[in-house]
């Protein structure tokens, strides 16, 4: 069991944004977090990666909690933010070196992997450039490369598809597939419902900081038989209902 979120309540000040969230991501599973802007997806992610402390409840990655084994907990997680975050004054090569240092990776092994990924994303000729000046899509690719050279057992990916070209989207999905086969868990938040429906094993729908529904495509269809067939239809009808309440 890779990620377990148990009864998580949390937020920015004293007002909780998240209310009693419970869900999990099993080994080798790709779960997507779906919700409207401001529903609490990013807040949930911020709690999981350890940027925010929960008011109550627990988050465990392979049974470890951040409050008890901070470094071991963090070692297991790789994160790709929604907006690429880069060091202004480091070159692409130095970004990869930094990741290798930070996660204590094996130099040769990590660079072999990095070179393969860089080639895939057509960044191999730009090792000496400052990625801070790249286009949005290319910066996102740098984030993907840095995250996927780690040996994390949980990948947390926030809105991965925005700004990526179709080829890169396909490459990213393949990478995710490969990591899944190797036993890693992936939690991904997204608005691209068609892609999510096609590739994700389970879905967690969040609304106003609470889990609205959770399960595989079949389970969700069973729960809302009148809402439509595709994830997109079901989600839209749920979101509209929520607004009318």
């Amino acid at each position: 069991m890779s990620l377990q979120v148990e009864d998580l309540t949390g937020g920015y000040s004293s007002v909780p944004v998240l209310k009693n969230e419970t869900f999990d991501v099993k080994d080798g599973e790709l779960v997507s977090l779906i919700g409207l802007n401001g529903a609490g997806k990013s807040t949930t992610i911020n709690h999981i990666i350890g940027l925010m402390k929960p008011f109550s409840g627990a988050i465990k990655v392979n049974g470890l909690q951040i409050s008890k084994d901070t470094e071991k907990y963090k070692q297991q997680i790789a994160y790709i933010p929604e907006m690429p975050v880069l060091y202004q004054d480091l070159t692409l090569k130095e970004h990869i070196d930094t990741t290798i240092m930070a996660y204590n990776l094996d130099q040769k092994e990590a660079w072999d992997q990095a070179n393969e990924l860089l080639k895939m994303f057509r960044l191999d000729k730009r090792l000496d450039w400052f990625p801070a000046n790249f286009s949005k899509g290319m910066r996102q690719k740098v984030m993907i490369v840095c995250a996927f050279i780690t040996n994390a057992s949980l990948y947390v990916i926030d809105e991965p598809f925005l700004g990526l070209d179709p080829l890169a989207v396909d490459d990213l999905l393949r990478l995710i597939e490969k990591k899944k086969k190797a036993g890693a868990s992936i939690l991904m938040s997204t608005h691209v419902l068609d892609t999510a429906e096609k590739y994700c094993d389970r879905f967690v729908l969040i609304s106003k900081g609470e889990i609205q529904t959770e399960g595989t495509m079949d389970q969700i269809r069973e729960k809302y038989p009148d809402a439509g067939k595709s994830l997109s239809d079901i989600y839209l009808s749920l979101a509209r209902d929520g607004k009318n309440e």
């Binding site: 350890g50 940027l51 070196d97 930094t98 930070a102 204590n104």
Partner: protein
């Protein structure tokens, strides 16, 4: 559109005044007075030696006037967001540029006026010009500046960058011909020719308003101009508009290689690279070290010189310490499985390294300045205490404040 320019111009002037206040600080004004005085004295001595009618006198005057003509570019005050927000009003931009043209022309003419004023005695001694010819020359260079500036407006509308030859001819060759004509033949004939060329350039500038504006060139040009100004100010004070500009500085790679590359030295690598590549605190460090070096070398009193080094070690350490939080806004520094204590240790090591380098430079300077060995030894002990206090108790306290 002209109103927009006027508003921007007044903001621009306020900003420039803010910086000029730092430039013309007491210390610099005194230095400048000596400098100008010395230069004036040297110039007057040079003029006394002139016998007149030597072969090089006219070419020198022509070169000086040509350089004066190139100074003071078109200040459009265009901002990069204009490309999006002003695009619907592009066809009205001509009235915006006419404001920019007039302002830039006045500034440019002031430069030419100063050049002319400085050259006046030189010309009257060397080629024996009287007042009427000198006034004729002033007319020529002011006309040339007007045409030159009109051409700067025209350039904003060029769509391709293959007009290098044309720019070369208009900005340099034509003025050169006219100045040669003025100095070797007849200044009034040159003025007439300058009038013709300037009138046609002004006409071209008025015709071009229906063309498409080359936004990229216009924005790059203005950015480059503002950058030059900021770089000048950055010699005197911190310029926030400049910090965040990163330079690759490949020649420093061997220095970075000296650092260990493992988890325990992650932040050493990050801090040192940022400090040496960023034009903010890193360049401040070098500026302070160089100023300290110069002061030690020129201050005749040994004790004051030694005291200066003590003050500058303190200044450098004090300025570097806030850099500790440089990476705090980067989410990854919170996600890496690296203990925060390591970050503080690494940062301390880097600050100590930079202070050590500064002390090393100052030590050499003190030896060159022949400061006596006992004073040097005492100073070194003081450096040691300073360095310790700054990088251990003080840094610990600061780090705690930042983390809470």
């Amino acid at each position: 559109m002209n109103k927009i320019f006027q508003k921007r111009l007044s903001n621009h002037l306020v900003e420039m005044t803010k910086y000029l206040k730092y430039v013309f600080n007491d210390f610099f004004v005194i230095a400048l007075m000596f400098f100008v005085g010395g230069l004036g004295y040297a110039y007057s001595g040079f003029l006394k030696q002139l016998s007149g009618n030597l072969w090089w006198e006219r070419p020198v005057a022509i070169v000086v006037l040509l350089i004066g003509l190139q100074l003071g570019g078109l200040a459009t005050l265009v901002k990069s967001a204009d490309k999006v927000f002003m695009a619907p009003k592009e066809y009205q931009f001509h009235s915006y540029f006419s404001g920019a043209f007039i302002y830039s022309l006045v500034m440019g003419m002031i430069i030419d006026l100063i050049t002319w004023f400085v050259l006046m005695p030189f010309l009257s001694i060397s080629i024996g010009w009287g007042i009427s010819q000198l006034i004729g020359l002033l007319l020529v260079i002011l006309l040339l500046k007007t045409g030159w500036m009109a051409y700067q407006v025209v350039k904003l509308y060029f769509q391709l960058n293959h007009h290098m030859v044309m720019a070369f001819v208009t900005e340099l060759v034509l003025p050169l011909i006219i100045l040669v004509l003025a100095l070797y033949f007849n200044v009034w004939a040159a003025a007439l020719l300058a009038l013709l060329i300037t009138a046609s350039l002004l006409y071209a500038a008025s015709l071009i308003k229906n063309e498409l504006l080359n936004w990229n060139y216009t924005i790059d040009h203005e950015d480059a101009r503002m950058n030059r100004i900021y770089h000048f100010y950055s010699l005197f004070t911190e310029v926030p508009e400049l910090s965040g500009r990163i330079h690759r500085r490949k020649y420093l790679d061997p220095v970075f290689k000296l650092l260990k590359r493992d988890q325990g030295h992650l932040y050493s690598n990050l801090y040192l690279r940022s400090l040496l590549r960023d034009s903010g605190p890193g360049s401040l460090y070098f500026r302070l070290v160089i100023i300290a070096l110069i002061l030690v070398l020129i201050i005749p009193n040994q004790i004051i010189g030694a005291l200066m080094t003590v003050i500058f070690v303190y200044l450098v350490g004090f300025q570097l310490i806030p850099f500790y939080e440089h990476f705090d806004s980067n989410v990854f520094t919170h996600i890496y499985p690296v203990n925060q204590k390591r970050q503080l240790q690494n940062f301390r090591a880097i600050v100590q390294l930079l202070l050590l380098f500064e002390c090393f430079v100052l030590l050499i300077a003190m030896l060159i300045a022949r400061i006596t060995i006992p004073i040097i030894l005492i100073t070194m002990v003081v450096w040691l205490i300073e360095g310790y206090v700054l990088t251990v108790p003080y840094l610990n306290k600061k780090a705690k404040q930042i983390r809470n």
